[in-house]
Symmetry: C2
Subunit: 361 residues, 2 copies
């Protein structure tokens, strides 16, 4: 079968150039006679791969001095514990802003380690269709940090800008919007992200942390989640997820070669505008999210008639438009259109949706 357009929310489609490069080098990376998967993580070859990836990520995000960049295991869900374990500090308080499913999980996990308070929650009857208005955030001055989710993958809700939390460090779970546009890292205490959306395959998690926030973890922090120890060891306190790190590095190179984050942002906005524009122009498809909070990455949509869902998915699949089923908690469809989804994929999806509406609307 030819390659399909894969709208999976994550793990997600990767740039075909990245996969081709990995394929070519799979048994012999650059004349070393071994696969990246077989290299000692302490050897010169892998260290050069890891350092290049780290430098490229710093370049992409323009990471300022005074921040460390870590490549860890455990996913963003691992950081739901990692953040409070490292940052809650002496006040043992943290404020969480909730605008979707992942934020809810994050605050629940943080509650194991201290007083994690929901400072704002945009749920209405359990459903999320917007971010909480900034005026409604009940922040505490003595909180160790404020945590929010810039893009909620399941509900398709994205913040249009970075909230200002004054002197309290801001922590963002950037997983599903990471590297989709420029980020002003200096506004954050911690940025973390699982790679498997815009930044590589599952299995590696990036954490960008302001150095002054490290070094005072709770006593029960597992060593693999200890930011300071990992920073001091260049993320190799133990064997890192070498191949996932390498694939992330190839993805960073691809982004740099394709206009950097400005290029990604421009293209992602265009793809999202096209798809939302089509949905809004139709009476058959709908998206419930407030326009100013619509995700450029994850576009959930409903059919006018729920009973057509299965037919829609089957016919889309046949047309090479795959993994469009919405999350069970939201229903309907979801098209994730990350960096690596070409504009042609979005065009093909819209064409298909138009045809399906014509036949069934």
């Amino acid at each position: 079968m030819a390659r399909v357009y894969n709208f999976s929310a994550g793990p997600a489609t990767l740039p075909v150039e990245v996969l081709e490069k990995a394929q070519a080098d799979l048994l012999d990376w650059q004349g070393t006679g071994m696969s990246v998967m077989e290299m000692s993580h302490r050897g010169d070859a892998f260290v050069s791969i890891a350092e290049k990836a780290t430098q490229d990520l710093r370049k992409l995000l323009n990471v300022p001095e005074g921040y460390s960049v870590l490549f860890l295991q455990g996913g963003a869900a691992g950081q739901f514990a990692g953040v409070p374990l490292n940052l809650m500090g002496s006040s043992q308080k943290a404020d969480y802003i909730i605008n979707g499913s992942w934020g809810k999980k994050a605050v629940k996990e943080a509650g194991k380690y201290g007083d994690a308070q929901v400072a704002a929650n945009s749920a209405v009857d359990g459903a999320f269709t917007d971010v909480p208005a900034r005026a409604d955030w009940q922040l505490r001055d003595d909180a160790a940090y404020v945590h929010y989710t810039p893009n909620e993958t399941i509900e398709g809700i994205e913040y249009p800008d970075v909230p200002d939390t004054g002197n309290v460090p801001l922590v963002g779970d950037w997983s599903s919007a990471f590297l989709s546009k420029p980020i002003d890292v200096s506004k954050y205490g911690v940025i973390y992200a699982g790679a498997q959306k815009n930044a590589g395959p599952a299995g590696v998690t990036m954490v960008i942390v302001r150095d002054d926030l490290m070094g005072n973890p709770q006593s029960g922090v597992p060593m693999v989640l200890d930011y300071k120890k990992q920073a001091d060891a260049d993320s190799m306190l133990n064997t890192p997820p070498c191949f996932a790190w390498y694939m992330a590095g190839l993805t960073f190179e691809w982004i740099l070669a394709n206009g950097g984050l400005e290029g990604m942002a421009e293209r992602n906005q265009r793809k999202a505008d096209k798809l939302y524009g089509f949905i809004d122009s139709s009476d058959f498809y709908s998206n419930p999210v407030a326009p100013q909070a619509r995700s450029r990455m994850n576009v959930p949509f409903l059919l006018a008639n729920d009973e057509l869902n299965k037919t829609f998915l089957a016919q889309a699949d046949e047309a090479g438009l795959c993994t469009l089923k919405g999350h069970r908690s939201v229903g309907g469809m979801r098209a994730s259109i990350y960096n690596a989804m070409p504009e042609e994929g979005v065009d093909a999806l819209i064409d298909f949706m138009r045809g399906f509406e014509k036949a069934n609307g």
Copy 2:
């Protein structure tokens, strides 16, 4: 360059057939039109990969009913925390047997979560050359578990058999000997192992746990390390390290196709006997470990003249015999001869060593 013989202690050489299969399917796994790295972990394709790998691992190890098999992130070092967090239970006591570097790290980490006692330690002047005699183990009847390291990767020390700890569950960090020979799983409470020795690439960690030991973790256990929660979610509480899991699955298939663990054990013993036999027959090379505790996986050896180390490594590298440098804490050389190291690789190493001795001895 042609493929080399790679004696890395981990990440380590993989079966070439496994790499070739992964390479062939890298952009399109079995006609799905996508890479394994791009698949939703909830989709039918990846679920079938994960289930097959799990079943094959159960088959290889003959895992009895009443044990769960988990595929987690964070490495064995993550389990240094995972084990006490899940198992220390009401007594808050655990006994650790120390016969090398990894056991020392494990007991240090466990000390964060309760009374982790060194019950035996075979170090003499800080160096390990044997396992502690069973008669010297100071075990406590009310310990929640006894932890030991069946194979110490750095010192090259391996237990010839499984210690009997009576009613106290036995926990083994099997990382560097996992799948190198049959294991009687029923003698264990928990077996855990990073994949990157005999079982795949770095980035996935297997945990085999007796079901009655799960479900009573410490309150601070990160959800990603919670055995019961992960078991209930088929190791997909969050996005798993999909590609590493898949590669581990291909490796299990390769082991099954090559005689299973009996076949591995037979071949590994023959390789080790050859190499130790040559070292013992030479006045130029030496291995300090007590013969009954010599590792079949990791063979450290010293040259009679330390000053020749660099020359040895450079010439070996030129001969396509790579990653032979010993760990800095031990010095000298180390040849790791895991499942995927062909017997021809060991033969080539011995030939090279013989020639080097002739030229320099």
